[in-house]
Symmetry: C2
Subunit: 528 residues, 2 copies
């Protein structure tokens, strides 16, 4: 199929501009974990009160929390045993003007679920950056992925914030930021064990993605680093580790240009990389700005090469200006390689500069679940296919049953604004959609008014559960209660029936970019 024949760009869709703006704002807020900050002023009384002005509240959050045996409405399923981990940026000190909400120290939260009870804990990743700033009592890394402005005292320290994603590997929790190596944490205590975890010296890349995949057959961890030989290098290192931490394969390739390679895909036979024009901007960096800007009109590149080889077979298929930062799933099937992404026509982030100085367009920045494809049998594929799968659903944080990362899959999940709001005068409800790719259908869970849902995570019912059989969980923030958080746990096959259990926290918690489910069997017993 051609690049265009099945694509339904956002601007031509059935829903109006206002809807997309709300959707894009929701996505940005959810990504940044700042929905509750943004909403905080709404909690103030509307009329100016007499007497002293009302409190403006703090600018920062940063509260590390423990709640033992959390209150639960409904019932925690007896077969749900494990932990839901999340991380997100929680700035230690106020962000410098011009900085973006993707900066800020990684704050990891954990819902430990066992025997029908839930314990909650959150801890900062005590990485090199955090510790240095704590000691100094001020920010020392003032700009997102711009080392030029760093305080001279931090020379040689890891810039990693570990605020993007969190996985488990070889008995450790790894907090991830794509510009640096992981930080290793204790799965029970969230204590930082190693602020620069290099897999016992095996990690050659200077960076490590926030989006590793799990091989559906072997359980191996598949991952990569970009700008792998340093700042503004085109080198990408792709690698594979066994569950017990042994590197069994790696390859090096070079991207056509240094764009944000936030996620990737690996199937049974192929590695896929997708280069978008949110690209390295040297001039902006030298002016004191962030690492990236959006290069309007620049092409994308769909890259692929065979697993197990040396990467020299890499092919880069040019495509139109687009953005795709997250993959929902992907697989190879005969001659075809399919990767399902959330795709927008242009810059999806209102806070990322447009290089040409134009105004950010929330409609062109709105993301839809989109299937990319190439015919890998062709010697030099001229284009890649772009098919919008769900034109009514707007959202940038898709997930799947992670046991199906590398193989054909049927179900996906997405937080999105209500695609069919009942009352168009109100902000659309925050929803989780469950997609059935087999029949292109969807199912919806609508959260209540004033509630914002973060990215969802799937937990299988057990090791032998069929695909999608289990629980979908995610954090719901209550804007009308100072951002107070619940964890909602849904039957992943019947999300339209509402939560089976709601874990009610007493306060707001640290925000989230991504979260990860770790089964209880992979969590070591607590140390005495």
């Amino acid at each position: 199929m051609s690049s265009k024949d099945k694509e339904q760009p956002a601007a031509s869709g059935a829903v109006d501009r206002r809807h997309f703006i709300a959707a894009a704002a929701g996505v940005g807020a959810a990504l940044a974990g700042r929905e509750t900050l943004a909403q905080a002023p709404a909690a103030q009384p509307a009329a100016a009160p007499a007497g002293p002005p009302p409190s403006t509240g703090p600018r920062l959050f940063r509260a590390e929390l423990d709640v033992t045996d959390c209150e639960v409405e409904g019932k925690i399923p007896a077969d749900l045993n494990g932990a839901f981990y999340r991380t997100g940026p929680d700035p230690q000190y106020p962000l410098r003007p011009g900085n973006i909400p993707f900066d800020g120290e990684g704050h990891v939260t954990m819902f430990r679920i066992e025997n029908g009870r839930v314990n909650f804990r959150s801890r900062f990743v005590r990485n090199e950056r955090y510790l240095a700033q704590e000691k100094a009592g001020k920010i020392l890394f003032p700009m997102y992925r711009n080392p030029y402005l760093d305080d001279p005292s931090v020379k040689g320290l890891s810039r990693g914030t570990h605020n993007t994603h969190i996985i488990h590997h070889n008995g450790k929790l790894l907090a991830l930021k794509e510009d640096s190596p992981p930080a290793a944490m204790d799965l029970n205590t969230l204590e930082t064990l190693d602020p620069v975890y290099n897999f016992n010296g095996q990690l050659l890349s200077q960076t490590f993605t926030a989006h590793p995949k799990t091989d559906s057959h072997t359980g191996n961890m598949l991952a990569f680093g970009y700008e792998a030989k340093g700042f503004n290098t085109t080198d990408v290192n792709v690698f594979e580790y066994t569950p017990d931490g042994r590197k069994v394969w790696e390859a090096w390739v070079n991207v056509p240009y240094v764009g944000m390679l936030h996620d990737f895909q690996m199937t049974e036979k192929y590695v896929m990389l997708y280069v978008i024009p949110l690209a390295f901007d040297q001039a902006q960096i030298e002016r004191g700005g962030i690492h990236w800007s959006w290069y309007s009109g620049q092409p994308t590149y769909f890259g692929f090469f065979r697993r197990g080889g040396d990467g020299k077979d890499v092919k880069w298929v040019k495509g139109p200006e687009r953005s795709a930062t997250h993959m929902m799933g992907g697989f190879d099937d005969g001659n075809m390689l399919y990767v399902d992404v959330e795709m927008s026509l242009s810059n999806p982030f209102g806070f990322m500069p447009m290089r040409d100085g134009s105004k950010w367009d929330p409609v062109r920045g709105a993301s839809h679940i989109t299937r990319l494809s190439v015919d890998v049998s062709k010697k030099t594929p001229k284009e890649y296919g772009i098919e919008t799968l769900y034109p009514d659903h707007v959202g940038a944080l898709p997930r799947q049953d992670d046991r199906y990362n590398t193989v054909p899959y049927r179900y996906g999940f997405l937080p999105c604004p209500d695609p069919a709001p009942r009352d168009p005068s109100k902000r659309p409800a925050s929803c989780y959609a469950r997609f059935d790719l087999q029949n292109r259908s969807s199912m919806l869970y609508r959260a209540g008014e004033g509630v914002q849902l973060a990215e969802a995570c799937f937990a299988p019912k057990g090791p032998n559960a069929r695909e999608g059989e289990g629980y979908l969980m995610g954090v719901a923030s209550h804007n009308n209660e100072g951002g107070r958080a619940d964890l909602v746990i849904l039957d992943a096959e019947h999300i339209d029936q509402g939560p089976i259990a709601t874990v009610k926290l007493p306060t707001r918690i640290a925000g989230q970019i991504h979260g990860w489910w770790v089964p209880g069997s992979a969590i070591p017993p607590k140390r005495a």
Copy 2:
């Protein structure tokens, strides 16, 4: 002077009934640390939203918190070095119907202030009760000071909640509940070191007051226990420990009846105990109720005896039905012994049963700062003096500069509703009053609308500061922000000028009954 000549009972005062109801409610809420819980429903949208019903929020709080280098509006004084500790009841599991907000596990909070920075931490007292209930996953001590309903599994364990007050003694933090021995905690980490601290075997009383005093000359800790030989015993043990933990004096006396002996007074020469008709109620306990009920019409007793003796000289001076639970200060002066209390005509607690089944009266339950006195030179004093010092100020949590616990003093502090509200249609502002007893004047700090102030605590500017020279601090809860807490720090001599510094926390924190300032010099260096 006679019992009556200078007393101005609340009901005859210049302010109306509505004012007193608000005041009494504020006092009850502040005591119980539940203002924010009570206010939480007000944060819900007024109109019923479409879709799922709004969250009702959790019933419990229990969030243990750490915030490093808290945000500060204004500037922390350079000479303020130490820690402000607080404790309050924070039920581990929902209270059984009929139980009262004085029950619930002690949750200790700490504002560690040093070099212009503030670190916040809160931890439960991990006492025997807490640990047993945590293990069981349910409440095992279901009724306030009623052991008859205890789960059989807890036989022999301390019932102490340690939710009332917190002091430092001999390098430890002691969390207090008047029905049991203290729990010792680490001054830096808030780790519970000893859940039943008996002063290396020196504590003979089975109980220990929540209101020790500090001898203004020696720094000795002066304290007592009532029901000292067990449940419903009239025995009171009064004792004195040196700052390094050596018991240097004790005496035993018997009260006329077993009333709540919540506080006491010690002057240079005398010990004063005040027995109120909030008294032991065996029938109520056997019915499954709490320890106390209010015996309307029953007399009070002002008891006193010499320090350093054996207690056999104790004299009990009968007085009218009154309540006084907290002492602001006291001293002896020639033949006279003076004790300043917060006094109400009847039961100050709406949640404590009236034994005769009558309705609780918030006007008769409202407290005013009142001076009690006896002529100790009389062989058998027939009455004690009752003089209302501040008839316009309603409040039950007075404090002083604690360096003046046993000697003549000039200044006192009280959280109270605005005694002269500008807009009588609104709920009176929550205030701190500073009293100058020398000229019977007062000064006021008014908090903003929707803010509730907890008990205040005075921190001297330094070891050589004159009386009242230093800082008054206390926690301000924002009802409109999900109960979010600030610590306000005022110049204690100019509280009307508003905070010098406001420490802005990002969430609600555990509630408070009482708090205590510990100078930095008394806090051991952190263990490595």
